[in-house]
Amino acid sequence: MTMIDERRQLSYIAAQAADARVNVELETEGMTLNIGPQHPATHGTLRIIARLDGEQVVWAEPSAGYMHRGYEKLTEVRTFPQVTALVNRIDWLGSFANEVPFILAAEQLMGIEAPPRAQHIRTILFELSRIANVSLFLGDLGVQLGAITPVFMAFRDREYVLNLIEAATGGRFHPNFDRIGGLKDDLPKGWLEDTKASMHKLRTFCDEIEDLLFGNEIFQSRTRGVGIIPKEVALQYGLSGANLRASGVDWDLRRDRSLPMAWDKVDWKVWTHPDGDCFARCWIRLQEVREATKIVDQLCDTVPSGAVMAKVPRIIKVPEGEAWVSTENPLGEMGYYVVSKGDTGPFRVKIRSASFNNISITPWLLKGVLVPDIITILASLYFILGDIDR
C-alpha cells in the first residue's frame, strides 16, 4: 500500500503546484494536451484531455463517443439471427466472442440449448478469438513502449489463428457463425489437427514475447509500479477481465458462471497477480493466451460427435421475457440484457462491454503520472474503441 500512498501524495503535490502557479506573477501556464481523437497510441478514436504541468498530468479525462455506431438501437430493427452480424463488430479483434453471449441470452429466452458438439466448438472458437485478440495486444504493447519488433511477431503468429477461424467459419474478422440453437456449420475435415499444431506455435510465440518484452529491464522499469490499481478501487470502478485479475481479485466468469459452454470440462487455471500495476496486467494477459491454448488443445481432443444444431423453428420468434447473459470476453465481462416482447426481433438490448468500464478508471489513474506513462497505462488497460463506443 505504501506505493499507492506515494502516488496519491504525488498527484496531490502536482495539483497544489498547478493551483499555486495561477496567481504567481511569473506564471507558468499549464498546458492542455489533447491526446486523440487522432493519435497513434489510442487504437482508434479515444480522446484523452490531459492538463499538464510540465510533463506531469494534473487532470485527465477520457472523452469517448467519436465512433458511436448505435448498435443498441440498431438491434431493435433487426431480427434475432441478424443481430450477430452487428455485435460482431463491437470488439473487432475477437469477434466471435461477441456473438456468444447474445446467442446464449436468446437461447435462454427460448428455452433451448445447443447440442454438446456445438458447445465444444463454440468454446474452441471463443478461445481462438481470445488468442487472436490478446496476442495482438502483446505485440502492440511493444509498440506503445517503443519496441517495434514484437508487433510483427504478433501479426505473424496471429495469422495462424485467423486462418483457423477462416477455415472453420469463412470469415477472418467477422465470422457471424453462431446461431440460435447451435452453429452454422460443422468443422472442416482436419481442422482439429491443424488447430493443435497452431496452438503449439502460439505457445512458442508466448515464450518469444516473454523473452523479448517481459524479460527486458527497460520494459520492467517502464511498467512495474506504474498505474497501480488497488483491489478496492478496481472493484469500485467496475473493472473486469485481466485488469481486475491483475489487481488480485480472483474473478473469471468462465469458471464462476455456469453457462452451456465447455470450459468446465477442461483443466485450466485462472491467474491473478497481487501488484495491480501495468506489468501485472500485461503479464496476466500473457498467461491468459497460454491458458487459452491449453483449453483449445484439450477441447480439440474431446470434441463429441453429433449434430451442431438443435431443433429450432425456421422463423425464430423469441417468447416474451428478459435475459441477462455475460461471458468472460478477451477484454473483460461482456454481457447482453435482452428484452423480448414475443416478436422476431428484440424489443431492447442493453450491451455491457468491458472496455467502457475499464477506461472509466482513467481520470483516477492518470492523475499525477508523466506523459509517457499515460501511454503505458492506456496500453495496459487494453481497450478497443469499438468496445467503448458500440
Binding site: 497513434p40 497510441a41 519496441a147 510483427f152 506523459v371 501511454i375
Partner: protein, 351 residues
Amino acid sequence: MSAVFAADIPYWGQSLLRALGGAVAVLLPAGTIVYVFLFKLMSFMQSRLGPMEAGPYGSMQLFAEVGKWLQKEDLYPDRADRFLFKSAPLVVLLSTFMLVVAVPFGPDAIFTNFDNGVLYVLAVSSISVLGILMAGWASANKYSLLGGLRAAGQLIAYELPMVLAVVGVVIQAGTMNMQTIVVKQNAGSIFGWDGIGNPYILTQFVGFLVFMIAVQAELTQAPFDMPIAESELVAGYMTEYSGFRFLIFFIAEFATAGVFSLLASTMFLGGWGLPWSWFNWGSLDEVHNVMNVVGPLIMVTKMMLVAFIIMWARFSYPRFREDQLQKFAWKFLIPVALGNIAVTSILKVAF
C-alpha cells in the same frame, strides 16, 4: 591531398570542392548503403522482406523515396515561425556534414586534418540540438514542443558521457588529431605483438561501451527515442514536417548514424587500417598510397558493422522514460566514464 589542388585554385575554391566532395563521396553512398542495409536488416529481424520493388531487391529504395518526398507539398503550419521552421532541418543536416570533414578515410583521404579533430567533432555534433530545438519551437505544436524540449534535455545530458568516453582515447593516444589516433592504433603493439596493432577497443572497451550508448542517445534511436516517441508524441519535433524537409530530417537521422559509426571506428576500431595489413609503416608518410583507395572501403565496412550494432539495439529495445534516461546518464554513465578516465591515466603513467 593538397598536392592535387595546386596553388592556382584559391583557398575558398579548395574548401568548396572539399565540401562538395564530402557530400557526394561520403554522405550519399553512406546514406544509401546504410539505409538499404539497415532496412533489409530490420526487415529480416522482423520476419518480413522489406523493400523489394525499387531496383534489385529494393536497393534503389532511397532514391525512390527521395523522388516521392520531393513531389510533396512543402507544408508549414499557420502559426509557425516560418524562417525557423524552414531552416531547422538544414541545421540538423549541417551538423552531419560538418562531422564528416574531420573523419580520415586514408593517409591522404581526409577533408581537413585538424590538430584537435576530436574536440571539433564533439563540438560540431551538438549543433543538431539547435536544429531540433528550432523545429520543436517553430512548429507551433504541443507535441513538437514536448519533443523538442525532450531532445534538448537528452542531447545535452548525453553529450557529457560521450566527451568523457573519448577522453580515455585521447589520453592513450596523446593527441587529438584523428589521423594520428588511427596511425597510433595501427602501428601500436600489444605487449610486443603487433599483428593487429592496438585498436583502442581492447584497452578502452568501457569507453567504447559508454560512447556507443551515448551515440545511441545522441541519434535519438531506441531505447532513447523519446524526442520522436511515435506512440506518445506522434512524431515529436518532426510532427509538422512533410515533403523534402521531412526527408532532410530522415536522411540526417540515417547519415548521422553512419557518421557516428565512422567516428567510433576511427577512435576505437583502428580507422582505415586493417588488422594484419600494417606493413611496419612507421609514420603517416610511409603508408603506401594504395591505402587511399582501400582505406575508404575498410571504413565503410567498419561503419556498417557499427551501424548494425546501433540498429540492432534500436530494433530490440523498448524506450526509457524521460526521468529514467536522465538518471541513467548522470548516475551511471558519467561515473563510469570518469572512472575509466582515472584508470586510463593511471595506467598511462604506469606503462
